[in-house]
Symmetry: C2
Subunit: 105 residues, 2 copies
Amino acid sequence: MTYGNVLHALADPTRRHIFEALNKGPCSVGDLAARQPVSRPAVSQHLKVLMAANLVSVQTQGTRRLYYLRREGLEGLRQWLDGFWDDALASFGAEVARQVSADDG
Amino acid sequence: MTYGNVLHALADPTRRHIFEALNKGPCSVGDLAARQPVSRPAVSQHLKVLMAANLVSVQTQGTRRLYYLRREGLEGLRQWLDGFWDDALASFGAEVARQVSADDG
DNA sequence: CATTTCCGTAAGTCATTGCTTACGGTAAGC
DNA sequence: GCTTACCGTAAGCAATGACTTACGGAAATG
């Protein structure tokens, strides 16, 4: 479920651009929007989705709101991905795959 | 770009279910649809998307079409994820983050 | 206190998309 | 050859979503 939100959040290209931009360091919403081909409210809405996925966080600084990246938010997705290379699952999958390829030869 | 397709493909819950089901071994479209709350054509369309993302592949076997998982399709996404923990980027990000937290204390 | 800056949210629009039913096409069985 | 099983695609529909403009609120500036 947690990696579901992450996948959904990172599936959008604009959201990925914002996320990658924040990887270079914290940034305000206005500066973030200036480097995107979309309006500032659009960026704000995207940040809301990234927040819900625990991929970014905020820190108010005067009138500005500095968003920064949260790499921990990627952990769930990473672990889910690693699961596909799990030894037990891989060996089982390989065995079934061998049965399939057996029809070929 | 390649991980973009993967993220898009895996963002849909039904597609994830299909993908995870194929992780247990190859399966036909009908059997796949029997375990999903959607119709068979829907599964077929989802498989088309997974194919475009190089996440699955097919092998015709009589009238049946056995779909199987392709773990290589996840490599691009995995590498993209690993990039966020890259030493250089991380140190740079940490430095900027330190500047932000400097305002706090 | 009035103004400016920076931002989040509401409302509305248009494209995307996930789903369905209907159809056509290929391979096995009699 | 006809039927049956299995599947991909087309067409249509309802829902989601990404974007815009308009508005209102909070903090620095004078």
